[in-house]
Amino acid sequence: MPRQQNEVRDLDEGSYVMIDDTPCEINSYSTAKPGKHGSAKARVEAEGVFDGKKRSLSQPVDAKVWVPIIDRKQGQVVSVTGDDAQVMDLETYDTFTMRIPEGEDLSPDDEIEYLEYEEQRKIV
């Protein structure tokens, strides 16, 4: 599992965190204090990196959470079929099919960046 354990306090907007076993990108990080002698509580609102679903967690700032290690890789478009592109990784030469993000216009030979985490990939 490419992931590491961090404390909630180390999270920040724009960084990644696992919520419900799903890698998510953090949109908002805020804290509240539960009481004079308790540890502050943090609230993280995030969006699934690969499924786009909104998720949130609310935990003490010293609680441990998993942070996914998401690779950013280079690829080249081999072919385009409808909403899907066949992409070849420029390091390993593996090829695979990925959904083209809405509003993106890709053609064969275009070089792209994509995120990869445990067989899940997404063009950025």
């Binding site: 908002s28 805020s30 804290t31 509240a32 609230r43």
Partner: protein, 276 residues
């Protein structure tokens, strides 16, 4: 715990959330004690409501406890908004207890109502006050970033610029002597905010910024009950500890009146736990 709010949060229809923010109070501080006072002075109420023939303890009200503020008010409002939105997403109507009026901004952002209805002595339409854009005097201004309309009941004071802003089409101000005859004549759903200083200081002296010539409690009671069936959320704010409980007991009673009227007026299917 708010008396009678003994439901399990997971299956509740309503949830009391304390928000003891006391950061921008401009005159008499103590709003941080509001949630504690409101809970305490609700202890003497009967469970049964003769107007709607319901028992409070049958209405699935839970108490989330307080969400403690940090020094960073903007961040605190984000946290509070998220907490309230979570409850709303799970079918619970939030009942926010302030704290200073600024906490309402979190409630409105969480619930995204069509109309912001507010009982308040003040217009609260300032863009900032004393250099603070999150002052308690800016609440209606922020609410209008989310809601299409604001209806301010019982307002009787404001700056010249606020009265000018109040003249726009998206703001309706109902003066104190007209509130008794006011009907909720708006389209869509509402967020109802009760600043306890809408009441005349003779009835609710325990508040940060008293303003004479205000509403009597019965008029506030009727207004809350009229809006409640169309409301997606409720708050009562600006209660402090500088009286013998008058402000807190009125706030607590209005919160309960909201729940009774909302539950009675709720058509089937407006709660996620209709079978609960």
């Amino acid at each position: 715990m708010f008396p009678g709010a003994s439901a399990d949060p997971a299956s509740a229809e309503y949830v009391v959330v304390g928000a003891p923010l006391d950061a921008s109070t401009t005159f008499q501080p103590g709003a941080r004690f509001g949630p504690r006072r409101v809970r305490h002075f609700a202890e003497s109420f009967d469970d049964y409501d003769q107007h709607t023939e319901q028992r409070f303890t049958d209405l699935a009200v839970a108490d989330h406890g307080d969400v403690g503020p940090t020094d960073d008010v903007a961040e605190y409002l984000t946290f509070l908004r998220g907490t309230l939105a979570d409850h709303a997403d799970e079918g619970r109507v939030p009942l926010l207890v302030g704290g200073e009026h600024t906490v309402t901004v979190a409630g409105v952002r969480a619930l995204d109502p069509d109309v912001f209805v507010c009982l308040d002595a003040h217009l609260d339409l300032r863009e900032s006050y004393a250099g603070n854009p999150l002052s308690h005097a800016t609440v209606a201004h922020h609410a209008l970033d989310v809601a299409d309309r604001a209806v301010i009941l019982g307002a009787r004071t404001g700056s010249e610029a606020e009265w000018e802003r109040a003249g726009a089409d998206d703001v309706t101000v109902v003066p104190p002597d007209e509130v008794a005859d006011w009907d909720p004549d708006f389209d869509g759903d509402a967020y109802l905010s009760v600043d306890i200083d809408a009441a005349d200081p003779g009835y609710a002296p325990g508040t940060g910024t008293m303003e004479p010539f205000g509403l009597d409690p019965a008029t506030m009671h009727d207004a809350v009950r009229a809006v409640a069936p169309r409301a997606v959320g409720f708050d009562v704010v600006e209660v402090n500890d500088r009286d013998d409980g008058q402000a807190a007991v009125l706030a607590a009673k209005l919160l309960r009146a909201f729940v009774y009227a909302h539950a009675a007026g709720c058509i089937a299917g407006c709660g996620a736990h209709a079978d609960g």
